[in-house]
């Protein structure tokens, strides 16, 4: 039983690292998309830098409240469900 608690703590720590890395990656990809969207838009040719910054900040604000960010929680949920399924299948008669 102690082993199970230890595995849970270790697993949580490991998945938290994955969660952190995926969060940084997802944010970076989103920001890059916003930047490229702005830079490739001919209507925004010659616009000021602070307009661009404001646009990107608004886009990042959308991201913060979006579904995509919440989906990263699957990093915890999927392994936990897989753990339960494996324990059941392996030990059921």
């Amino acid at each position: 039983m102690l082993g199970l608690i230890r595995a849970a703590i270790l697993g949580f720590a490991l998945l938290s690292v994955v969660y952190g890395v995926v969060t940084i990656y997802a944010r970076s990809v989103w920001r890059e998309g916003l930047e490229k969207g702005w830079d490739s838009d001919p209507a925004r040719e010659g616009s000021r830098k602070d307009e661009r910054d404001a646009f990107i900040e608004a886009g990042m604000e959308d991201y913060r409240h979006g579904l995509r960010r919440k989906l990263i929680l699957l990093v915890y949920i999927i392994p936990a469900v897989a753990f339960g399924v494996i324990v059941y299948i392996v030990n059921a008669q």
Partner: protein, 210 residues
């Protein structure tokens, strides 16, 4: 000349990593044998330093002492007459992630399905690990069930799914790394051309493309 040596260092490094990864996966992923169980028993087994990696860690349910412990074994025979011996140990909760704690039940099931050569009951034994007599290591049986026939075709769904997940993970790690280099490292180095060249030392040559 110098470039040539690095080319070989690089090749050996990647080949070594590849072999290790494949061996690791082959050891850990589940495999299926179609066998007939001939005997089940416990044996007091002394585990050495050279083969401890192929036995359960000491604090799992069935493995209480580090060096000498009672281990359940299942002996079986293939259709062609060759034999195999499985150990039957709890895996514990960390690695390999089978989370098996029903070794006693499995031993009882295997004993119940025992058969003789004249009236064989063919079984599918799911296991992981290797049988290497020189190291005295045994694959760990995980499950046993009756086979539909001696030449039942088994599709290894679990391995297929896990390899896809593994491939996806490798792909994502690579993409994340490239994203990191693109967005963080390159802009930071853009102004310092000299530093960039110097930074490309040992690891740069090992992992760099060319």
């Amino acid at each position: 000349m110098g470039g040539n040596i690095w080319k070989w260092v690089k090749r050996v490094f990647w080949a070594g990593l590849m072999i290790f990864t494949l061996g690791f996966l082959h050891y850990t992923l589940p495999q299926h044998d179609i066998v007939r169980v001939t005997n089940t028993y416990n044996r007091l087994t002394t585990i050495g330093t050279e083969n401890a990696w192929a036995y359960s860690v000491p604090d799992t349910g069935t493995a209480e002492s580090t060096t000498t412990r009672d281990i359940r074994f299942i002996e079986a025979a293939f259709a062609d007459g060759s034999v195999i011996v499985y150990r039957n140990e709890d895996t514990g909760w960390i690695w390999p992630p089978y989370f098996k704690y029903d070794s006693s039940n499995l031993q009882a099931e295997a004993g119940n399905l025992k058969s003789i050569a004249e009236a064989p009951k063919w079984l599918v034994v799911t296991h992981y690990g290797w049988r290497l007599p020189i190291l005295s290591i045994y694959p760990n049986a995980v499950a046993v069930r009756a086979a539909t026939s001696v030449d039942e075709q088994i599709i290894p769904w679990v391995s297929i799914v896990l390899l896809l997940v593994f491939g996806f993970a490798v792909f994502m790690v690579r993409r994340m790394w490239l994203q990191f280099v693109d967005r963080m490292v390159d802009p930071a180095l853009a102004g310092v051309g000299e530093a960039q060249d110097r930074a490309k030392g040992f690891f740069g040559r090992l992992f760099g493309r060319k």
